[in-house]
């Protein structure tokens, strides 16, 4: 029997069509004894890099191509050579970007290097006018096979057999239908058949397929011919950067040298031999790695947008520091350069720069303008399914209403993978009483089968690729909704393919700093220069950090971080850098030990050889470079291997690679005389860097921003807090920040039609709610109001406001509810009467100029008593989405009077004086962090606040199981439990919780 290769295969990378992962397809192909396998996803090469690398593990030669589909035409294109790759990228890019795209025309133009297989008659007839070389007629069982065969005979084209594989195994057909229904926003019963593949489109063995081709056996053998012809050796770095190309970026080494020297003068004043030596060391590496243009590109951007924070390992570069890309002195803070660049490192280093979140688009615009959209594109994210989204989408197909879906999904953390749905629902206490009747079991069964299925592409938060020539010839490019070109590969595949990328990231806190500096300048005329500003030695700043009083401050405001800082009792920069690095997901076990060693001075590194490396971090591995160094010192890893281990720890698909490193590490460490227990302990420490972790340079860079925000909080609290709320997106809600303002002794004022501006504003000791907080009012109407107010002055009274602005009646009612017109001293119901009276007259074109008449009419309005306080607060909450006039707990004075409560402000005093005291506390839930114990039981650290202060409470597994279902931010709680001090920080270990109302 002839051999056969599947040439038409879709994986999960065919958006909302293919159901099997590339691994599952390769596994099945291997079991069928296939030597080649093609991956031809719909209109894309979305998984090309991964498929090629996975195919190596299965000993299968990978063919790449794509199924090109438009509304009326379709064809399969397989890559024969480099030219074909470039042409396919061009066709795919045009397919996504060009609204007038014609597949026939594209193939006529870019056919070189491609094998074209199709059963689309007009397309084949047209292409036959040219060469018949590499042109085939596609014969698939169930797809008008006989018509295709007769067409092949008529056009004298060789037939080729495919099974249009959409899944590895036939039962996955139902999943395919489900994906199509999700994609088309319809129900299973209304799915048009034209949108589905056949139920028989699985990866079938030759024996099953052969009987379909008894009358055309050459169709089977032709698959082999094509497989032999096509490209199966893939070197992506070479494909993407063909040798001999000049760098994509402008600028040269000499220019870099000049700018660095000038920067060194500016930064250091006098260039010391140490600085000189470090600069030259970096120059050597930069020159050898041809990275000068890369540095100069970043420098060009930051020169135009100076409020930045160079983050990541690049902060260890003195060149970046001198160029103004980063702001932490790598010499003073002993930052390890090799983590950023070294000559052994094969993958390209990244320079990641944070910009104020609202300037990021401008920065991108500049890059796209300077290097042109032809050569520039952004990295994409592959949007796939996690547990929540999988359940939501499947349930929508089954017609379940949103509220009912939310009842299930709100009990599932956003981190849970789709495959883990059943385990989560079975074991998590939040789901204990979730009795799900049909069709829910079916929905969950299907949802748990979704996972890596590509839904769509979105923009990566900052990765920008710049190419020396048209990017469309190198990678397929699509266009995002915002109109930005983006490549079809996500970050991991881009890195694997050896692409250089710039990371332009948005950061809210930089915008907070920028806005606060502007406010300070406006309010007091004080100028603080961002680049030269050094708050590290400021006493008030250090004091706030020492006390963990960092609510609202960048990177230090989470409850865990505030507690850690308060336990450390250190305000210096070095310790801040340590703290911001040890706070990471997998390092919980080491944090307590770190504090113990810091406060008691006791403790030693896990091995004497590590003494020097881990000295500054009290013998505990804290920074990413510690992993590399430990692996090098204890297990004889090379620097590049150590780096690879570090990178593997943070990857998604890491199991196989990590196991290999584990064995190597254990073997190497044993050879150096370490005993098993010792090695296991050190390996555990290495694993604590799973998920994400930081290098010292990054932590130092971020800590500097932290210091700047803490400085502002210490010296300009009103301005700072106003900017924190205005820039949104902080760790807490606006309501929680307003409570913090109260705790800081600031006065909060409601929006004022003559005094408020769009964002929150702060001056001296008052914070005024900005118009931005008012819900449901058009931004454009605000802009017109502010323009009118600045041009013609404040509004004299309500009628004056009505006459000069362009709000709709519903919007003005919201403004009334928000308290914008309380300054006019009229009851709010009267304002509503006036509003409608005015609108009525306006609609009838009655003269507004006749003030006497209007006033007379206003006099005559029905008596309108003022609303009761309770209703006013209700309206305020509806209009602003929060309570600004008072703390939410103040709504329950009666209930609070009834029982004795320990005020939050007293918790540390009482808890430190009498540890273990049983108390009762009241409070609103502010935030929570769900974690698992080492036995896998869920528990939660929650933060509550009453009108006097904020406190942290721990719900251990047993308590959490009992009360997790009642935890909400909308109702006040009464908590009973024990006060437990830990290095001076007191938390409440909760035993009982109930609602106060």
């Amino acid at each position: 029997m002839t051999d056969f290769t599947h040439l038409h295969v879709h994986s999960t990378y065919s958006p909302m069509r293919g159901t099997s992962t590339v691994t599952a397809l390769l596994e099945k192909a291997q079991s069928l004894g296939q030597k080649h396998l093609a991956l031809t996803d719909t209109n894309g090469l979305y998984g090309a890099v991964r498929f090629v690398s996975e195919a190596q593990n299965y000993g299968i030669r990978p063919l790449l191509g794509a199924e090109l589909i438009t509304d009326h035409e379709s064809a399969l294109a397989l890559i024969r050579n480099e030219e074909g790759y470039s042409h396919l990228c061009q066709i795919l890019s045009d397919r996504h970007a060009d609204t007038t795209f014609s597949l026939i025309q594209a193939l006529e133009r870019w056919r070189g290097g491609l094998v074209i297989i199709s059963d689309c008659e007009p397309l084949l007839r047209r292409l036959c006018r040219g060469s018949r070389k590499d042109l085939y007629a596609e014969l698939s069982p169930g797809y008008h096979m006989h018509a295709a065969l007769s067409l092949a005979a008529e056009l004298r084209l060789p037939p080729v057999a495919t099974n249009r594989v959409h899944f590895a195994e036939a039962p996955e057909y139902s999943l395919h239908r489900l994906l199509r229904a999700i994609d088309l926003n319809t129900t299973l019963s209304e799915l048009p058949e034209s949108e589905l593949c056949l139920p028989t489109c699985d990866l079938k063995p030759l024996q099953t397929l052969a009987p379909f081709y008894d009358h055309a056996p050459q169709a089977l053998s032709n698959t082999q011919r094509i497989a032999q012809d096509c490209m199966t050796e893939w070197d992506f770095p070479e494909l993407l950067h063909p040798s001999g190309e000049d760098s994509a970026l402008t600028g040269n080494f000499e220019m870099l040298k000049q700018k660095t020297y000038a920067g060194a003068q500016r930064r250091y004043g006098k260039v010391t031999p140490e600085v000189f030596e470090r600069v030259h060391k970096e120059f050597d590496i930069i020159r050898q790695k041809h990275m000068a243009p890369y540095f100069l590109t970043v420098e060009d951007v930051v020169r135009h947008y100076p409020i930045t924070c160079g983050r990541g390992s690049a902060a260890s570069s003195i060149v970046a520091y001198c160029l103004g890309v980063t702001h932490v002195d790598p010499i003073a803070h002993k930052l390890f350069l090799e983590r950023f660049i070294n000559l052994e490192r094969l993958d390209p280093p990244d320079i990641d720069v944070d910009f104020p979140w609202d300037e990021r688009d401008n920065v991108l615009d500049r890059l796209f303008w300077k290097y042109s959209s032809r050569r520039t594109a952004m990295v994409c994210n592959h949007i796939t399914f996690k547990a929540r989204s999988a359940i939501r989408e499947v349930a929508k197909v089954y017609g379940i209403p949103e509220v009912e879906i939310a009842r299930v999904t709100k009990r599932i953390s956003s981190f849970i993978k789709a495959a883990g749905i059943h385990e989560h629902l079975k074991n998590h206490p939040l789901c204990r009483d979730l009795q799900l009747k049909q069709p829910w079991p079916e929905i969950l069964r299907y949802a748990s089968q979704l996972g890596e299925h590509l839904q769509s592409l979105s923009l990566h938060c900052g990765g920008v690729l710049i190419f020396p020539e048209a990017i469309r010839k190198r990678i397929p490019v699509e266009v995002s909704r915002k109109g930005i070109p983006l490549v079809q590969w996500e970050k991991d595949q881009c890195e694997q393919a050896g692409l250089f990328k710039l990371d332009i990231l948005g950061n809210r806190s930089l915008a907070v700093i920028r806005d606060a500096l502007a406010l300070i300048q406006d309010n007091y005329g004080t100028t603080i220069p961002y680049a030269q500003w050094n708050p590290l030695e400021d006493t008030a700043t250090q004091e706030l950090i020492r006390n963990g009083n960092t609510f609202g401050c960048f990177y230090a405001e989470s409850p865990a971080m505030r507690q850690l800082l308060a336990k450390m009792r250190r305000g210096d920069f070095g310790h801040m850098v340590l703290a911001s690095s040890i706070i990471r997901p997998a390092a919980n076990a080491y944090i307590q030990e770190f504090v113990r060693r810091l406060r008691t001075g006791a403790g030693a590194p896990p091995h004497p050889l590590l003494k020097e490396v881990l000295e500054e971090s009290y013998g505990i591995a804290v920074y990413q470079e510690h992993i590399t160094q430990i692996a090098m010192i204890l297990a004889g890893f090379k620097a590049a291997e150590g780096e690879e281990l570090r990178k593997t720890l943070s990857k998604k698909h890491r199991e196989t690679a990590l196991e290999a490193f584990r064995q190597k590490f254990f073997h190497g460490a044993k050879e150096r005389g370490l005993h098993t227990e010792q090695i296991k302990e050190i390996w555990r420490m290495i694993l604590s860097f799973s998920g994400y972790s930081f290098c010292k340079a990054h932590s130092a860079s971020y800590s500097l921003v932290t210091y700047k925000t803490v400085f502002l909080k210490a010296h300009y609290p009103a301005e700072f807090m106003a900017c924190v709320i205005s820039n949104q997106g902080g760790y807490y809600s606006a309501q929680a920040y307003l409570s913090e303002c109260r705790r800081m002794g600031l006065q909060i004022l409601l929006p004022h039609i003559n005094e408020s501006v769009f964002p929150y504003s702060g001056k001296d000791r008052t914070v005024r709610v900005g118009f931005m907080q008012i819900q449901g009012v058009r931004r454009q109407a605000w802009e017109l109001l502010l323009e009118e107010r600045s041009k013609n002055g404040a509004f004299r009274d309500f009628e004056n406001f009505l006459g000069r602005t362009h709000f709709q009646a519903a919007e003005i009612r919201t403004l009334i509810k928000a308290g914008c017109f309380d300054c006019f001293n009229l009851p709010r119901p009267r304002l509503v009467w006036q509003l409608y009276e005015w609108m009525y007259r306006k609609d009838r074109n009655q003269s507004m100029d006749s003030r006497t008449l209007f006033d007379a009419q206003m006099e005559d309005l029905p008596a309108a008593p003022e609303l009761k306080q309770g209703l006013r607060l209700q309206h305020e909450r509806a209009a602003l989405g929060l309570l600004a006039s008072c703390h939410p707990m103040e709504l329950y004075p009666e209930q609070l009077k009834r029982l004795p409560f320990l005020a939050a402000a007293q918790i540390h005093t009482v808890g430190n004086r009498s540890p273990g005291t049983e108390v009762q506390m009241a409070g609103m839930l502010v935030t929570g962090k769900l974690v698992s114990t080492k036995h896998g039981e869920p528990m939660e650290f929650l933060t509550f606040e009453d009108s006097t202060g904020i406190y942290d409470a721990t719900f251990f597994p047993q308590t959490y199981r009992r009360f997790c279902r009642m935890l909400t931010k909308t109702r006040p709680f009464v908590l009973r439990g024990k006060l437990e001090p830990n290095y001076g920080v007191v938390t409440l270990t909760v035993k009982n919780a109930e609602f106060l109302d």
Binding site: T187, L188, L198, K396, I400, P401, P827, P829, A864
Partner: protein
């Protein structure tokens, strides 16, 4: 002549009807909901169950979790239908002018019956006493000079101490004055609740003392009606059942569904039942309205005009299906649907030929006489042997939905996609109403 309108309101009508069958249920929390359905929702709630926070439309599973002692009864439409008919018959003993609005709600026009039954309050009182002592039903009676005030009077009667509230002629405004503004129908119909709260208008008297001109600035065209209502003025007549302008056939799905085939089959079923009613009453409809309520209580509807008045299933069905297609814009499951055949004309009014001549257009080529005969014969069979014993094949499988690939029906939902051989009616609650309104119990 002084009008005397009585409004009878039997709260928790379905539950009370069930309690008549089983009086031991009176003190227990009771709900009515299909028992065997996986996704059953609650159709009616007893006051005891309501005190547990159980509400109409809630999922049954959720309600039983809140109140473990909950007694769940399956709906028995025949019982409610029978009780409604008995109530109507009893009302007809006093006056022929009655208007049932919803199950357990009834207007009686007692104007001019004083000579026969004495003062209207006596007749109402007698009815009230009979309901309570002989029937065991608790009902509230409102007596006033118009429908609006009599209805509000029956509404404000304290629950479970259902009494008779009479508003003497000329005292309508004074009676209404202390009650909340939200009782006025205009407020609810036009969603003015938020506005009256912002204007701090709490009692009806506050609205009554505002000039119409002022009200107009805020409430627009509804101002006149609002002012009339606040003064207790309502001139609408009690509509006789015989004067009906629409016929409504409704269906509660036992298990909500978004399966297209099930929905279309149910529409066909409703058309069949409603058209038969039309033929019985010798009416033809000129308009078809389909009302849908999704599981999340959102509503949608669509109206399709008929080319000419008709009472034939085959002509109404395409319009009803078109209305379904247009009304259904979401994929959320549907819990309830109501088909209203509107703008009814007596066959005599429009001319018998107009109503039936359309049969000439039958696509299947069947002649007028033959089709007429078959439909009439079907009507007779149903009358004699019950619903569902014989039907058109087309109401059982929707045309044009055959699967090109047989294997497709083996996928998920194969059960729902397979052609049905038995009648499509799910065991939900179906009923017919004569008012044309699409509100449901």
């Amino acid at each position: 002549m002084i009008r005397s309108i009585v409004h009878l309101k039997i709260p928790h009508f379905y539950v009370q009807a069930e309690c008549l069958q089983n009086p031991r249920l009176r003190q227990r929390p009771v709900v009515i909901s299909p028992l065997s359905a996986e996704r059953a929702v609650i159709l009616a709630v007893s006051p005891q169950a309501a005190s547990w926070g159980i509400r109409k439309g809630m999922l049954l599973a959720q309600a039983t979790k809140i109140c473990p002692d909950l007694k769940v009864l399956p709906p028995t439409p025949q019982l409610y239908q029978k009780l409604s008919e008995r109530l109507l018959q009893r009302a007809h003993r006093i006056t022929p002018i009655t208007e049932p609005t919803r199950p357990g709600r009834l207007f009686l026009d007692l104007t001019g019956t004083q000579g026969l039954w004495g003062p209207p309050q006596d007749a109402a009182w007698k009815f009230h006493k009979e309901l309570r002592s002989d029937w065991g039903l608790f009902g509230a009676f409102g007596i006033a000079g118009n429908k609006l005030v009599s209805r509000i009077a029956s509404q404000v009667s304290p629950p479970l101490k259902q009494e008779l509230v009479q508003v003497p002629e000329g005292e309508e405004a004074a009676f209404l004055s202390p009650w909340p503004v939200s009782l006025l129908p205009t407020i609810k119909q036009h969603h003015f609740e938020e506005l009256i709260e912002e204007l701090n208008l709490q009692r009806i008297r506050q609205v009554a003392c505002i000039q119409t001109q002022r009200l107009r600035t805020v409430f627009g065209p509804s101002a006149d009606r609002l002012r009339r209502e606040s003064h207790g003025i309502d001139h609408t007549a009690v509509h006789l059942q015989d004067q009906m302008e629409a016929l409504t056939q409704e269906h509660h799905f036992k298990n909500d569904t978004n399966d297209w085939e099930r929905l279309t089959l149910q529409v066909c079923q409703l058309v069949r039942d409603a058209a038969r009613q039309l033929r019985l009453k010798n009416r033809a409809c000129q308009r078809v309205r389909l009302f849908l309520r999704y599981t999340d209580m959102q509503e949608a509807q669509n109206t399709q005009p008929m080319a000419y008045p008709s009472f034939w299933d085959t002509e109404i069905e395409p319009r009803a299906l078109e209305a379904l297609k247009r009304a259904r814009k979401r994929r959320t499951r549907i819990r309830y649907m109501a088909l209203s055949l509107e703008a009814l004309k007596r066959i005599g009014d429009v001319g018998a030929t107009a109503a039936v001549s359309s049969l000439d257009h039958c696509k299947d080529g069947m002649d007028l006489e033959k089709r007429q005969k078959i439909t009439r014969a079907l009507d007779k069979i149903r009358e004699r042997f019950g619903e569902g014993v014989a039907d058109y094949a087309s109401t059982h499988r929707h045309p044009g939905r055959t699967s090109r690939h047989p294997a497709r029906s083996e996928g998920i939902f194969a059960e729902q996609r397979s052609p049905r051989r038995s009648a499509p009616r799910d065991d939900g609650l179906s009923s017919v109403r004569n008012d044309g309104a699409c509100s449901t119990p």
